[in-house]
Symmetry: D3
Subunit: 206 residues, 6 copies
C-alpha cells in the first residue's frame, strides 16, 4: 500500500481497487446491465461502485436492483425518500458498512436538503435533528437491524402511535433488511465508495 | 390466542396466522406469481409460507425469488446444495429466525440425506458432524452474519486453505447476506413456518 | 474425521465418541449407578449418553441425578412437566448446548404432546405456540440464564401477575441454573446426544 | 429499607434478610441437614447463609452439597484448594454474584494465605498475582462461564501445555459449571453473604 | 422541536441548544477562560461548542484543556497530529459521540489533508486508507476504548513491531482515555457540534 | 514472575512493579509535584501509586489531579463523598480496573463508615446496602460508563424524581467519565494498587 496516499499531504484521486473481485468492463456486460449503468451515469455524473462491483454477477445484479427499486422507488406509503435514506444510513452504520454509510449518507443529504443530517444519523441517531416520528422509525429500524428476533406487538404499537401504518412498517423492516444484506456483501467483498459521494449534498446548490 | 393449542395434549393441525399482514388468495395474484406458487406446490406437495406471505408485495416477491434462485440454484462453484442449506440454517439460528431454521433445516436434512445435521448446525455448528472444510465455511458465514465489518484478508486465507476459491467466498457471503435479509423480514412480519417442514427429512425414505 | 459420514449420502448409524473422556463399561460401575442406568434403559429403550458420560465420575453422577430428580420429578408446584422441559430447551439453546436441546427437546415434545414446540422454543421462544403465562416463564428463565445479576422485584411481580407463586419462581430459577451447569459440562466434555432423541415425539403415537 | 444503615455513619450489625424465601429454624430441619449445619458452624464459627437459605428445600440442599463436596473436597487431581476457590471467585464475579464472590473470596484468601488475591481475581484476573499456569486455568474457566459452546481442542491443548491433564480440565469445567448454577440461584433468591466473610483472611494470623 | 428544520427543505442555520446546561456569556467568564476562548475564536473563526459548554464549570474547563493540550499539543513522540485526531475520531465513533466525531473528524481531514479519511475511520477503520502502522495504532486504541482490562503484553509487542515505542503507547492509550471521558461528558450533557465542523477540510484549499 | 509469591504460603510484602513505565524518584520531580506527593503521603501514611506512576508525565499529572480535585473535592451539590466514591467503585468494576476498585473501594469504606459497601458495589450494585436514591445514581453512572450514547430525557427525569438536580447529574456523569479515563490509563500501563488499600476501612477505628 503506497504510503504517500495515506493520511498525508497531497491527497490526489487514486485508482484504488473498488472490490476484491474482478470488475467487468462496461463493454463486456449484458445489454440490460450496461444500459442500467449508463442510465445511472447519465443521471448522477458517475457510476456508483455498487453497480460495477455487482455486475461481476449479472443475475445477482438484476435481482439486487429489482429489489432495491421496489423498496426505494415505490411511490406509495408515507415514507419520504429522505426517511428511507435515513434508515439506510443509520442501520448501515450499525453494520460498519463504509460503502452504504457514505453513498446513502450522500443521498440523505440531498433528499433532506440538509447537509448535517447524514453524519448525525450515522454517529448517533438519538442526537440527530429529526422529528419524534423519525426517531421512532429509526429506533425500530435499528432493532430490526440488531435484534429482529425480538420484534413484537409493542414495536408495532409504538410505530402506530406515530402515524405509521402496517404497510409503512413492512417498508421500514424491508429496507433495513435489504440494506443489511447489502452491508454484508459490501463488507465481504470490500466494496469501496466512490470519492464523489463524500462531498455530495454538503454545499448549497447554486 | 387459544389456550388449548399451546403446549397441551391433543395437538391438532390449526389455522394459525402465517403473517401479520394480509395473505392474498392465489386467484388474486398476478399470473407469474401464481404460476411460481403452483409449481412449488406441485413439487413440494404444499406451498411454503414464504411464497404466500411475500406475495402480499408482488414486486418484492419477484425480486426476492430471483435473488434466491440466483444464489441457491446456481450450478457453478464448489458449494453443494447441502452446503448452502447448512449456511442458511446456521446463520438463521444466530438471527433467531424460526421460519428459516425450520424450513431450511428441512432442506438441509434432505439434501444431506442426514436427519441429524440440521438440529446440530442450528444449535452449535462447532459440535456438528461436518467436515473441517464445512466448519471453516460456517465459521466464515457466522462472521459475515454477526460482524461483517471485520471480514478481511485472514478470512479469505483461511477459506483458501480449505480449497474454497474467491467465487465460493462470494457465494458463502451472499447466501449469508441474503438470508440475513430474509430472517429480518420473516421476524418482522412474524412469518410462520408450515407444520410440514418440521418432520421433513427425518424419516428414512421408503 | 471420516468424510463419508458428514453431510453426505448414505447416512448410517455410526459409533462416534460420546465424550472426550473415557466412558465406563456398565459392568465396571458401582451397583447403584449401574442399576439407575439399567432402569432408565428399561424405561426409555436406550441409555441417554448423559448417564454414561457422567458415570466416569460416580460421585458427581450421584449428585447430578439427585439434583436433577429433585427439580424435575418433584410433584408440587404449578409447573407441568412440559413447562420444565420448555425451560430446559429454551435456556440450553441460549447456551448452545447440543446435548440438552436435543435430549430435552425430545422430552418436551413428548410431555407437551406437541411435535413442533421444541424447535420453536429452541430457535425463538417469542415466536412459539405457548401461552402468555409460559412466555412470562421463559422470559424469566432466559434472564436467569443470561443475566441473573439483574433479577429483582420487577421480575417477581411479573411472574406473580401470571399466577406463579414464589415457590414456582424458585423452581424456574433452579431448573435454569441446574441445566446451565449441565450445559457447561456437556459443552466442555463434548457430550454427544444419542441419535434416538432427534426423532422422539415427532410422530403421532399409534 | 432503613435509611440509616445505608452508606451512612454508624454502621452496625443488622438483621437484613438473607433470602427472598423463608429461612427455616434449625430445629425444624431434617436431622441430616441440621447435623451438617451444626458441623459447619462448629468449624467456621458461624453458619454460612448458603446452608440456611438452601435448607428451605431439603432435597435440593442435599444434592447441592453432595455435588459441592465431590468437586471441592476431592483429593485427587492437581488443583489445589486455592486453585479451586480462585476459579469460583473469578467466574462468580463474571456472573455478578455477590454471595459467591464474598464467601469464596474469603476462602481463597485463607487457602492461598494471600490477603490480596481474591480482590484481584474478582476485578480482573489478568492483573492478579498468579502464575502463568493459574492464568491459563482462569482463562479457561472464564470461557466455560461465558461461552462454553466454543470450548474445543485448542482449549484442551492450551491447558495441557501448562501441565493440566484431562481430569484437571474436567475439574475446572465442573467447578465453573457448578458455581455458575450456584450464582444463578443466589442471584435469583437474593442470597446475602454473611458479614463475617468480608474480613476473613485479610489479617495476619496470630 | 421545530418541524421545519428537520430533514426538510430550506435548511437554514438555527439556534439549537448546544447543551442541556446553561451556557455562560463570554463577559461573565473568568479572565483566563475568556482569553482562551477568544484565542481559539481568533484562530478557528468560531468558538467550538466544547469551550462554551464546559465554561459552565470553570475549574473543570481549566483541567480539561490543560489535559487536552498536554496530550494533543505535545511535540515529542512519533504520533503525528493526524494520527492523534484519527485516534479520537475512531474511538469517539465507538462511543457514539456526535460532538467528537464531527469536530475531530474535521481536524483529521485538515491535518491529514485528506477529505475522505474521517468518514472512513468513523465508520470502519479496517476499511480506511491508512498505513498498516496506523491500522495497528487504531486496533490498539479501539481495544483501550472498549476493553482496556484485557490490554497486555501482546498488545505492546504488536505496537513495537510497527515502530511504536512505549511512550507512543502511553500517548495512544491516554488520548483514547481522555476522549473517552470527553465522549461521556458530551453525550451526557448533549453537547452539540457547531455546524461549521461538518464541512471543514472537505474542499480543496484555494 | 517469581513463583513463590503467587498464591502460595508465606505471603510477604514484595516489590512488584507498579507500572509498565519508569517511575520517577521523588527527588527528580518538579517541585509542585513533589510537594503534592509529600502532602498526600503525610495525610495517608503512604503514597498511592497513581501519584508515582503518573508523575512520569508531569504535565498530565498536573491536569489529572486538577480535574480530580475539581470533581472529588468540590463542596457544592448534593453528592456526599461516599456517593462519589461509590460511583467510582461501581463503574471502575465495569471497566475491570483493579487499581481504582481497590483504591476507591478503600475510600468508600472510610467515607461511608461501612466495611461491606465497597465489595457489594463492585460485584453487583443491585444487591448493595444502598438507598433507592443511591441505586438510581449508580444506575445512571453505569449507563454513562457503558452506553453514554443512549443517555436522554428519561435518565434526567429518573434522577430528578430522586431529588438530584441537573448540577448533580453533571457531577455523576463527569465523575464516571473522569474515572473511565483513569481506568483506561491504569489498565493500559498496568498500574498496581498499593497493598495498603486492601485492608483500609475494614476494621473498626479504635
Amino acid at each position: 500500500m503506497a504510503e504517500q496516499s495515506q493520511g498525508n499531504p497531497q491527497h490526489k484521486p487514486q485508482h484504488k481497487p473498488i472490490s476484491r473481485f474482478p470488475v467487468p468492463e462496461l463493454k463486456d456486460l449484458p445489454d440490460d446491465i450496461r444500459e442500467k449503468i449508463l442510465a445511472v451515469q447519465e443521471k448522477a455524473g458517475f457510476v456508483p461502485n455498487v453497480f460495477l462491483t455487482l455486475a461481476h454477477r449479472p443475475d445477482e445484479f438484476r435481482a439486487f436492483f429489482l429489489y432495491h427499486d421496489a423498496l426505494m422507488l415505490k411511490e406509495t406509503g408515507s415514507l419520504s425518500k429522505a426517511d428511507r435514506e435515513m434508515i439506510v444510513t443509520a442501520t448501515s452504520a450499525k453494520n460498519n458498512c463504509l460503502y452504504c454509510v457514505v453513498a446513502h449518507g450522500a443521498l440523505l443529504r440531498i433528499y433532506a436538503k440538509n447537509p448535517l443530517l447524514a453524519d448525525q444519523v450515522a454517529v448517533n441517531h438519538l442526537k440527530a435533528d429529526i422529528t419524534p416520528r423519525q426517531r421512532a422509525m429509526l429506533d425500530f429500524a435499528v432493532k430490526v437491524c440488531l435484534d429482529s428476533g425480538s420484534v413484537g406487538d409493542a414495536d408495532y404499537a409504538a410505530l402506530h402511535s406515530h402515524g405509521f401504518d402496517d404497510e409503512d412498517i413492512w417498508d421500514i423492516a424491508s429496507i433495513t433488511a435489504f440494506f443489511g444484506m447489502s452491508n454484508r456483501i459490501a463488507n465481504s467483498i470490500a466494496m469501496r465508495p466512490n470519492d464523489e459521494f463524500y462531498l455530495m449534498g454538503r454545499l448549497p446548490k447554486k
